[in-house]
């Protein structure tokens, strides 16, 4: 997710930079009273926690590991505004002091990883909370849904930025399907870890969970008794369903690719408009016909194949249990 310089064009970098700065300014205004007076050390320590949590490896499958992004977790624990500030600080310091992510890429990196994950994730959290009982179970489940959504929303934001600022003639639908598909899987891990982490905080200091302020102690104490295996299998099913639905939008696939190639011939990045026009027209024609079922099947099969290939790769490489930590299946975008 830490994109380097030159990944998207300069105009997109400046535009996303302005959006990010505006969002951070809004978050600063919303937290002004509390932050300057009392909460700066608390926000700083929370930022250190998010930074550390991103180093936290968790198992995914067959001994491979992934790591947390933490945007939705920060939003549920600290509230969206403070959470956005905290994650933005993490992203900015990673770029300036750790050379992780480009300086001109700070605009879109901050937008995708700090703004979209926290505000977007918290929006999903609030909606999900309304649908669930007002108990600890509801908070934990809503956190899981929000964490999954935050990763997917961030990857969607990246795809949309690619639509406007692509530096390569790779069609939007190809990028969208690849990036969002991979992140739908990553989102399952994010969801499980975030939800259980919030559950653990609820058990010891329920007053620290911003997203559960409306609950009294006894309601917050009512928490899930579902087994982990069932929880993860449920989450994977949700991801598969999601892929099936998503493929309805992302699916012009090879069709779109062929159209762009034939219509524009040479779709260099000098003509991004030609490219996006072709894609948008592709969208308009990709209506709901009896294609829908086959597309859903294609999306679901895609996820299963990705899972199987991932499992096969790591099974072939050997036993990772001991020795150094293998880096997880993080997507390079």
């Amino acid at each position: 997710m830490h994109a380097p310089d030159g990944f998207l064009n300069a105009g997109t970098a400046v535009a996303t930079g302005a959006v990010s700065a505006g969002a951070i300014g809004m978050a600063l205004r919303r937290t002004r009273e509390t932050l300057l007076d009392t909460q700066v050390p608390l926000a700083g320590l929370s930022a250190a926690f998010i930074f550390a949590a991103q180093m936290l490896n968790f198992p995914v499958a067959a001994g491979t590991t992934g790591h947390l992004l933490g945007g939705a977790l920060a939003a549920v624990l600290l509230g969206p505004a403070t959470g956005a500030l905290v994650v933005a600080v993490v992203v900015i310091v990673q770029a300036l002091a750790f050379a992780d992510g480009g300086l001109t890429a700070l605009g879109y990196n901050t937008l995708n990883m700090a703004i979209v994950t926290t505000f977007g994730g918290y929006g999903v959290y609030l909606v999900t909370r309304r649908l669930l009982p007002a108990t600890g179970t509801g908070v934990v489940a809503a956190t899981g849904v929000a964490a999954f959504a935050s990763v997917v929303l961030a990857s969607m934001a990246f795809s949309i930025e690619w639509l406007f600022g692509a530096t390569a003639p790779v069609p939007f639908d190809t990028v969208f399907a690849a990036v969002v598909g991979v992140h739908a899987l990553i989102g399952v891990g994010e969801a499980v870890i975030s939800a259980l982490a919030v559950g653990a905080v609820l058990a010891s200091r329920p007053d620290l969970v911003h997203g559960a302020r409306d609950l009294d102690r006894s309601a917050a104490a009512r928490r899930p008794a579902v087994g982990m295996r069932g929880f993860v299998i449920g989450a994977v099913l949700v991801a598969l369903t999601f892929a099936a639905v998503l493929s309805q939008f992302a699916a012009p696939g090879p069709d779109g690719l062929a159209r762009v190639a034939s219509e524009t011939g040479f779709a260099g990045s000098g003509q991004p408009h030609a490219l996006s026009d072709a894609i948008l027209s592709g969208y308009a024609t990709a209506g709901i016909t009896n294609e829908a079922v086959s597309l859903a099947v294609a999306g679901t099969v895609g996820v299963i194949i990705t899972l199987a290939v991932g499992y096969g790769l790591f099974a072939a490489v050997g036993d990772h249990r001991r020795g150094r930590e293998p880096r997880g299946p993080r997507a390079p975008a």
């Binding site: 030159g6 250190a48 968790f58 995914v60 067959a62 499980v192 870890i193 982990m228 779709a267 975008a333």
Partner: protein, 255 residues
């Protein structure tokens, strides 16, 4: 977090680049990377000029070349992505080693690899020659809102401590035979993350109480009063001016 543990990228040295005021260095790094970003991809010579300017700065800063190259590995995942572009991109094809690759895709790969490498090297020089507190001072002087730099200050101050706490928790889990293979075995890790948050937050409460008892009023004292002189701004302007000139020349000749 004692002396000499500034952060993993900092290289202790005494050079003109190290002693440059942080705000000038930050502005110069950003301007340089922006100039690189707007350089048209076909102007290979312009990227060579940028690389030469950057290499001169690395030499002036006495950063070991091996250190810079090792740290560049951070862009590797994106380079892998960039290498895939010629296979999936549209446009006319060229034969390379018997493979039909997209010409525009190859230019896109070159564009991303060149700009990402130059950008990451710039970041490495910045981080390698500037301690984090000075970076944050520089950001404040460049007009970044103080709450942000203060949050960053506290984050950096306690990051190693929190990370060590995390490592001790992991050691404790391994010592008790915890050896997860699948996502549904991750509950102890997640519960550990929750416990780590509670510990971090409660440490923040204690730190804040300690600060109040020592007279904290909401603003941090500024210990480093030195600001950039005109000469320092001028010296810092060198590399970005070279890169901007190259970019403009490339844009003019391309048009």
């Amino acid at each position: 977090m004692g002396a000499g543990h500034a952060h993993p990228l900092y290289v202790h040295e005494h050079s003109a680049v190290h002693s440059l005021a942080p705000e000038a260095k930050l502005a110069a790094a950003l301007a340089f990377v922006l100039a690189v970003a707007v350089t048209p991809r076909e102007a290979v010579w312009a990227f060579a000029v940028d690389a030469a300017a950057l290499a001169a700065v690395v030499r002036l800063a006495r950063l070991p070349a091996r250190f810079v190259l090792a740290r560049l590995a951070i862009v590797a995942p994106f380079v892998v992505f960039a290498l895939l572009i010629p296979f999936v991109a549209s446009g006319d094809r060229v034969e390379v080693l018997g493979l039909g690759l997209s010409r525009a895709g190859l230019w896109a790969t070159w564009n991303i690899v060149a700009k990402a490498t130059l950008g990451a090297t710039t970041s490495i020089v910045l981080a390698g020659t500037t301690e984090v507190p000075r970076i944050l001072h520089g950001l404040t002087r460049l007009g970044v809102p103080q709450p942000l730099t203060m949050i960053a200050t506290f984050m950096i101050r306690y990051l190693e401590l929190i990370a060590d706490q995390l490592r001790r928790m992991r050691t404790a889990m391994i010592a008790r035979g915890y050896d997860p293979r699948w996502l549904w075995q991750a509950r102890p890790i997640a519960a550990g993350a929750g416990a780590l948050f509670v510990r971090s937050y409660e440490r923040g409460e204690r730190v804040h109480a300690a600060m109040l008892s020592r007279g904290y009023t909401g603003a941090m004292p500024i210990l480093d009063e030195r600001t950039a002189t005109a000469g320092q701004w001028l010296a810092a302007a060198g590399p970005p001016v070279i890169a901007a000139t190259a970019a403009v020349a490339a844009l003019v000749t391309a048009a």
